[in-house]
């Protein structure tokens, strides 16, 4: 209403500065009449000033109440969303305003506490990384650089385990600090874990059936390791026992055992610490450390999965109606002795030859068994690997003698898939088939047994390995080592972190040791972008060609 009056006055004034025409004067007078009429009309309605003020006050009050209610509703929404919302500044201290769920999610009142301490208790490295991220993000945000702030915050882990819960975190740069949104995803995680564990259980049962021989000989070997205990290691070194643990870990991982690989992994990690700590501890102390774990109980626990599914006597019978191994050895000796005799019929000779190698197993089968390992690893690494090709002579070997060597080959296949074979896209870019190829060749002649394992992956960067070796083993002349020295050096890995699948650089040393134990030697060659080839040679008499 007032605005309308002002327009009139301005208009009037406009006319007033014009020369006083009759029309203009009439217009002004009419305008003044309009204004007067307006004020008269207003007062005629008896709208008092006091009343107007009270109305305004009421409206303001209502608006304030509405705002408070809205805030309360927002708080209620935040409190009941099940998510935790909290704020912290560059000093990492959580502010006093947070949603109720924070307390249940974090297990304590967050206000005034260090947020890194809440999310990563006891993990100083992660705390340091987080406070550097937050400092970088706050500095960037202060300069209006939201993108940079976002980049810094993206370095903080989003999947967090706190207080036995699995949390998902979201970090958002806001004025002068960071907003943290927490969701408890434990239920979803535990469902996924249950599915994964069921898959592993099925894999283990399947392995026990399809890979019976290796499955049980690995168990026998591990039981012997446990039975001999710490005493067997008195004359050995810490790296020896470390290698043994590492190889068992790989073997039982391959057989999809439930708890044993993880327990061995923990022990391996502790041994690594001892070795990195400068070797101040005696082998006796270290062996005691290894055998402090109740390995037998863990093994039996894992094996109960198989016996529950396949019946208790599956384990005790080792899956077959078997010949007593001692008896088998006696049969072999008997056959070998009688083969020396000259006057044998064709049939007698045939039976004795079979009998003399009753325990010998085809090398081809043992190699084909690594198909499952390469398939498992390639699936988990999103890679593609064609089925293993095994070509060459049908050679049989004594499983007791060759068992440890064959199991150590898991390291070769594991490394081939993990480090050698590239991702399918990368392979395609390099003009290769999307699926990597691993080929095993077996040859047997008067010189002995030759086993060649080659992949068509990216090859080994010998120079990088040499530099790493020079750093890790200063003063040992690593600069002049050849590829085999580097590849088989104990404790040297081409990766910074050991993954669950690739090792810590001890596996390859175990392969060479197992090969040497059979009187064999190994050579390696590589070509960048073309692949890597391992050649194992064993003296004659360590195997025989099938008749």
């Amino acid at each position: 209403m007032t605005a309308v009056s002002i327009v009139f006055i301005v208009m009037g004034n406009g006319y007033l500065v014009q020369p006083y025409s009759a029309n203009a004067i009439i217009t002004v007078v009419v305008n003044i009449m309009y204004i007067s009429a307006f004020f008269w009309a207003s007062s005629a309605k008896s709208v008092s000033f006091h009343h107007t003020m009270r109305e305004a006050q009421k409206k303001a009050e209502a608006a304030r109440e509405e705002a408070v209610l809205a805030l309360r509703q927002v708080a209620m929404l935040l409190d009941n969303s099940g998510q935790g919302f909290l704020f912290f500044g560059p000093d990492m201290m959580v502010s006093g305003r947070y949603s109720r769920a924070c307390v249940s999610i974090l297990g304590r009142e967050p206000a005034g506490r260090n947020v890194a301490e809440l999310l990563f208790p006891g993990n100083d490295d992660m705390g340091g990384l987080m406070s550097r991220s937050v400092a970088g993000a706050c500095a960037a945000a202060a300069q209006g650089d939201v993108i940079r702030a976002e980049v810094f915050l993206s370095l903080i882990p989003k999947d967090i385990d706190v207080d036995g819960k699995s949390l998902e975190a979201q970090y958002i740069a806001v004025d002068g600090g960071v907003m943290l949104v927490l969701s408890d995803v434990s239920d979803r995680k535990s469902l996924n874990a249950a599915i994964a564990s069921e898959q592993r259980r099925m894999e283990m049962i399947l392995t026990a059936v399809t890979d019976r021989d290796d499955f049980f000989s690995a168990i026998d070997e591990f039981r012997a390791f446990v039975a001999e205990g710490a005493a067997a290691w008195r004359e050995k070194t810490v790296p020896d026992i470390y290698r043994a643990v590492h190889t068992f870990k790989g073997t039982f991982n391959q057989f999809s055992f439930k708890t044993l690989p993880a327990a061995l992994h923990d022990t391996e990690a502790r041994l690594r610490e001892v070795m990195d700590g400068g070797g101040g501890q005696s082998i006796a102390d270290v062996a005691d450390l290894v055998f402090a774990t109740e390995w037998g109980a863990i093994l039996d626990d894992d094996l109960s999965i198989v016996s529950e599914a396949l019946g208790a006597d599956f384990i005790t019978r080792k899956g077959v109606v078997s010949l007593d191994p001692e008896l088998a050895v006696r049969f072999e000796r008997f056959a070998a002795n009688h083969l020396q005799a000259g006057d044998l019929s064709q049939e007698e000779r045939g039976v004795l030859v079979e009998l003399s190698s009753i325990r010998m197993a085809p090398l081809r089968h043992a190699l084909m068994d690594f198909n499952r390992l390469t398939r498992q690893i390639s699936q988990r690494l999103d890679k593609e690997v064609a089925p293993l090709q095994v070509i060459g002579d049908d050679v049989r070997v004594d499983p007791d003698r060759f068992g440890p060597f064959m199991r150590s080959l898991g390291h070769i296949f594991r490394n081939a898939v993990d480090h050698g074979i590239e991702h399918p896209d990368d392979r395609e870019d390099a003009g290769k088939s999307r699926a990597g190829n691993i080929v095993c060749k077996v040859a047997y002649d008067s010189q002995g047994l030759t086993l060649v394992i080659s992949d068509d992956g990216r090859g080994i960067d010998a120079e990088a390995l040499r530099q790493r070796a020079a750093l890790r083993f200063p003063g040992e002349g690593a600069e002049t080592w050849d590829l085999a020295d580097l590849v088989f050096k104990d404790g040297l890995s081409s990766r910074d972190e050991a993954s669950a699948w690739s090792g810590r650089g001890v596996g390859m040393a175990a392969v060479r040791a197992a090969c040497a134990a059979l009187g064999g030697d190994v050579d390696v060659s590589t070509e960048a972008g073309q692949g890597t080839t391992f050649v194992f040679r064993f003296p004659a008499m360590s195997a025989r060609v099938a008749a």
């Binding site: 490295d125 990384l129 550097r132 991220s133 970088g136 650089d145 939201v146 993108i147 940079r148 976002e150 980049v151 810094f152 370095l155 590239e422 991702h423 896209d425 990368d426 870019d429 390099a430 990216r458 120079e463 990088a464 530099q467 910074d496 972190e497 960048a528 972008g529």
Partner: protein, 129 residues
């Protein structure tokens, strides 16, 4: 919106990775003007080529990606460097960001991830300046 074609220097000690990243950048409409396979080469080529953008591997023989980033940013504070890193290298990425890198992508480098990061960096540092 029309994408801004950028001139890019690709730094990686793996020839395959160089090829792969170059092909992706090409698909995204950018021009790879140079390749470098270690940090020292990256610094030299940067000064020589003055590219709009650099993709920088972290672990390389000799001078690594962090030191190279530091040297480039010291001379050219407005350099746009995106780190190419692996899982588990968060600490090194942090050092690179603190040294002045603008962003990072995780290996294996995928088209969408690279596109998003380049777009973010372009929106923030190229169009507005």
């Amino acid at each position: 919106m029309i994408p801004t074609p950028l001139s890019v220097l690709v730094v990686d000690d793996s020839i395959i990775a160089q090829k792969k990243i170059s092909a992706l950048l090409d698909e995204l409409g950018h021009t790879v003007v140079g390749l470098a396979s270690n940090g020292a080469e990256a610094v030299t080529k940067y000064i020589h080529l003055m590219p709009d953008l650099v993709t920088m591997d972290i672990t390389m023989p000799g001078t690594d990606g962090i030191v190279a980033t530091q040297r480039i940013v010291e001379k050219y504070p407005s350099a746009l460097i995106i780190m190419v890193s692996s899982h588990g290298q968060e600490g090194m990425v942090m050092a690179a960001l603190e040294a002045g890198a603008k962003g990072y992508v995780l290996k294996p480098v995928e088209k969408d991830k690279l596109k998003d990061m380049v777009q973010k960096v372009v929106d923030r540092y190229v169009l507005r300046s």
